[in-house]
Amino acid sequence: MQNYIENSIARFVHILRHLGIQVSILETITSLQALALVDILNRHHVKMALSATMVKNRDQQEIFDQAFESFFVAPEIKKEQEQVWEEKQAEGQRLLEEAETDLAYKGETLDLTEKEKLYYAQLPEEEKRKIREYLSASSVPDDRYDRFKPTLEYQVRGSLRYWKQRLGEAEDYHHLGDPEMDDPVIASIVDELSEDSSILYEDMKRIGERDLPKVTNMLKRLSRKLATMISRRYRMSKKAVKLDLRRSIKANVRYGGAIFKLHYKQKRIQKPKVLLICDVSGSMSRYAAFVIQFIYGLSAVMKNIESFIFAEELEHVSAFFDTRQPFEDTMVKLIGKSRIWGKGTNMGNALYALREQYPLLLTSNTVVIIVSDTKTLEIDFAEDELIKLKRSVKDILWLNTLPQDEWKNVPSVQKFKRYSQMYECYTLAHLERIIRTQFLR
C-alpha cells in the first residue's frame, strides 16, 4: 500500500512538472508526510493535503485541480485514458508513415524533421496534392539531378513554413517517441491539460476568438500587477543608506552635541513615467490589439502613462484610455478614429514627431516601451531618432514580436538593439516574463 502511494505521488509530481508546476523533492517528501496525517480514504482531504504542499499560487491551483481530477480516477477511466492515448499515438504514427511515403524523391524519403512531416500530413488534401505533384514532376530519372534532393527539401520546408504561417499550428503529436512519456496515463493527461495552458505560449497573432475572454482576464491580471509595482514608492531601508551627519548634528544640538538621535540619508525613488509607443502597422496590428488591451488595463489603475500608436505617423491615444469604458468600445473608437491603423511603418517619422511635438514627456525619469517588430522604412533615419530619444529618457525597453532566432538575419533588429533593451515578446508568456523580471523585481 505504502509503495503504491509513493509511486502514485511520484507519477503525479511528474505530471505537475510537465505542466509547469515546479515541485521539488523536499516538497514531494512533505506531501507524503502530509498524506500520513490525513485520512487517505477521504479524497477531498488527500487533494487538500497535496495542494497545500505542492501549489504555490493561484494560477498553479487551477492546473493542479485539473491534474488531480484527471490523475486520481477510477481504474476504468484510467484504462480509457490509456486507450485514447494509444489511439492518438497510432494515428500519429500512421500520419508520419503517410508523409514519408508522399515526401520522397526518386523513392528516397526527404530529409525533413518529424514535426515537418506531421505538419504536411495534416495539411488540406488540395495543398498536399500540390506538393506531391511538384515532387513527382521533379523526379526526373536522370543522374545529373542527384544533387537536386537538398534543393527540393529546402523548397518543401519553405512551403510548409508558409502554410504554417497562414494556417497556424496543427494538432500536436510531439510526444511521439519521447522516452519521458512512456507512461500512457501521464502522457495522456499532460497532453490533454497542456492544450489548456498552451494559450500562454501561443503566438499572439494566432490566438483565436474563442480564447479571447481567457486572454482578456490574463492581461487584466498582468497589467494590474504591473501597475501596483510601478505605483509603489520605494524608500531604501536604513541599513542600505548612509548616515546624514548634517541632519544628525542639527537634531542633536539640544542634547549638548552628543549624537543621540540618528538621521539617515533617505533616497526617494520617483515613480517612473511610462511612455508606450505601439506599432499598429499591417504586420503588427494583431499584436497591437493585445498590447493595447494591456495598456487599457494599466491606464485603468495608474495615471502616469502616456500612450502612442504609430505606423507611417504618430498618434497620441492616451485620451482614449482616460474614460472608463469597456475595452471593446475603446478599441472600436480607437480604430475608427485612427488614420494610421494597419498602414506601413516609418518609425523614424514617429520618433521624430514624438521628439518635436511632445518634448515635455521625454524626461530623465521616463521609461519608453516600444512594441514593434522593427520592420520599418528608412532604417538609418529611425536609428538616428532612436539615438536622440535614448539621450533624453531614462531607458528604452523594446518588446520585439519577432522570434529571437530570426533577429540575426534582420538588420533593423541589429541596429535598434544597440540603443534599447530588447526582449522577444510574441506570446503572453513572454509578456508575463518581461513584466516579472523587468518591473516586478
Binding site: Q22, S24, L26, E27, T30, Q33, A34, L37, V38, H44, H45, M48, A49, S51, A52, T53, V55, K56, N57, R58, Q61, K225, T228, M229, R232, R233, Y234, R235, M236, S237, K238, K239, A258, F260, K261, L262, A300, V301, R324, R436, L440, R441
Partner: protein, 300 residues
C-alpha cells in the same frame, strides 16, 4: 485548550474550535491549517483583501490560548524593525552615567547585554516561553532582501546576534504569512510554507458567516445580503470586489435601519459600505443599479 505539542489536534477538533471562535471554515481552510500545525511549517495564505486571511492567525491564538505576535510588513521594513535593535539612546545615557567610574571593557560588556536589546516581533516570537502565533502580515509589501532574510529565520527558527551569539527558538511558533499578491514571492520562501488560497465564500458559507457574526439579522435578510454580494462579486467587473468584512458592515447597517428584507432604498444608502472606489460605484449604477440588483436576487 493548551497544546505545547500539536500532536493531539485533529481536523474535526480544529473545525469545532474554529467554529467556537466564530470563524466559519470548511475543509478547504481547515486541512491546510491543520497540516501547517502538524508539520510545524509556516502557512502562507493568499487571497483578495477582506476574505479572512489575517483572522486565521487571531483565531489560532484564541484557540490555543496563546499570544499573537504581529509583524506588519511595509516597504522598507528591515531587520531592525523586525528582529532586534540596540537601544542606542539608553546605551548613550549609560555611557554618560558611568564613564567616570567603570573601566572601558566593563562598559562595553554591559552595554551589549539583553537589557539594551529592543526585541522586535520575530525575536519576541522566537524567545517566547510558550508556543505563540507569529503573524507576518502582507509579506508581499516588503522588499526582496527582507524576504530572503525572513526565509533564513523561518528555516531554522534561530537568529544570530553578533554580540550575544545564536538564539534558538524555545518553541517553534505557529507562523501565519499573509499575501495580497501584489508581487510574486520568491520560490524559496514559498517552498518552505504550506499554501492556502482563500477565495470569496459561497452563498451558503457567507450566509452562515452573516448569521454567526451579526445574529440580529433575520434569515430572509441574511439570505438577501448573501445573494446580493455574491451577484455583485461575480457579475460585475469591479476593481475592488466587496469582501466578507464589507458584507458584515452592510449587515450591521441594515440592522440599524431595522430592515426586514433588502430593498433598493437600503442599497442606495449603504452602497459606500460595499464599494470603496468611485469608479466601482459608477459602474454599479451604470450596469445594474439598486433596483436591478434587487430584481436579480429576487428572481433566484
Amino acid at each position: 485548550m493548551k497544546y505545547d505539542k500539536l500532536t493531539s489536534i485533529t481536523i474535526e477538533k480544529l473545525h469545532q474550535d474554529f467554529e467556537k471562535t466564530g470563524y466559519i471554515a470548511e475543509d478547504d481552510i481547515i486541512v491546510p491549517v491543520y497540516l501547517a500545525l502538524r508539520l510545524e511549517k509556516p502557512i502562507l495564505i493568499t487571497g483578495a483583501p477582506g476574505v479572512g486571511k489575517t483572522e486565521i492567525a487571531k483565531v489560532l491564538a484564541s484557540v490555543f490560548k496563546t499570544d499573537l505576535i504581529r509583524l506588519q510588513c511595509y516597504e522598507g521594513l528591515d531587520e531592525n524593525k523586525a528582529l532586534y535593535e540596540w537601544n542606542y539612546q539608553r546605551q548613550l545615557i549609560k555611557i554618560q552615567l558611568i564613564k567616570e567610574v567603570t573601566s572601558e571593557e566593563m562598559v562595553e560588556q554591559d552595554l551589549f547585554s539583553r537589557d539594551y536589546l529592543l526585541e522586535r516581533p520575530l525575536l519576541r516570537a522566537i524567545q517566547a516561553p510558550k508556543k505563540t502565533v507569529l503573524l507576518i502580515d502582507e509579506i508581499d509589501k516588503t522588499d526582496e532582501e527582507f524576504e530572503a532574510f525572513l526565509f533564513e529565520v523561518l528555516s531554522d527558527f534561530q537568529v544570530s546576534i553578533p554580540e550575544l551569539g545564536t538564539i534558538k527558538a524555545n518553541f517553534i511558533p505557529m507562523v501565519v504569512l499573509t499575501n495580497n499578491g501584489e508581487r510574486e514571492l520568491s520560490d524559496g520562501l514559498k517552498r518552505r510554507c504550506v499554501y492556502l488560497y482563500i477565495d470569496f465564500p459561497s452563498i451558503e458559507k457567507e450566509l452562515k458567516i452573516i448569521k454567526v457574526k451579526v445574529p440580529e439579522v433575520n434569515d430572509r435578510l441574511a439570505e438577501d445580503i448573501a445573494l446580493a454580494v455574491h451577484y455583485m462579486r461575480h457579475e460585475l467587473d469591479f476593481k475592488k470586489k466587496p469582501s466578507i468584512s464589507e458584507t458584515l458592515d452592510l449587515s450591521n447597517a441594515l440592522v440599524l435601519f431595522n430592515a426586514e428584507r433588502l430593498e433598493p432604498e437600503h442599497i442606495k444608502r449603504t452602497i459606500n459600505l460595499l464599494l470603496k472606489d468611485k469608479e466601482d460605484i459608477d459602474l454599479f449604477y451604470k450596469e445594474l443599479g439598486p433596483d436591478g440588483l434587487i430584481e436579480k436576487i429576487r428572481r433566484r
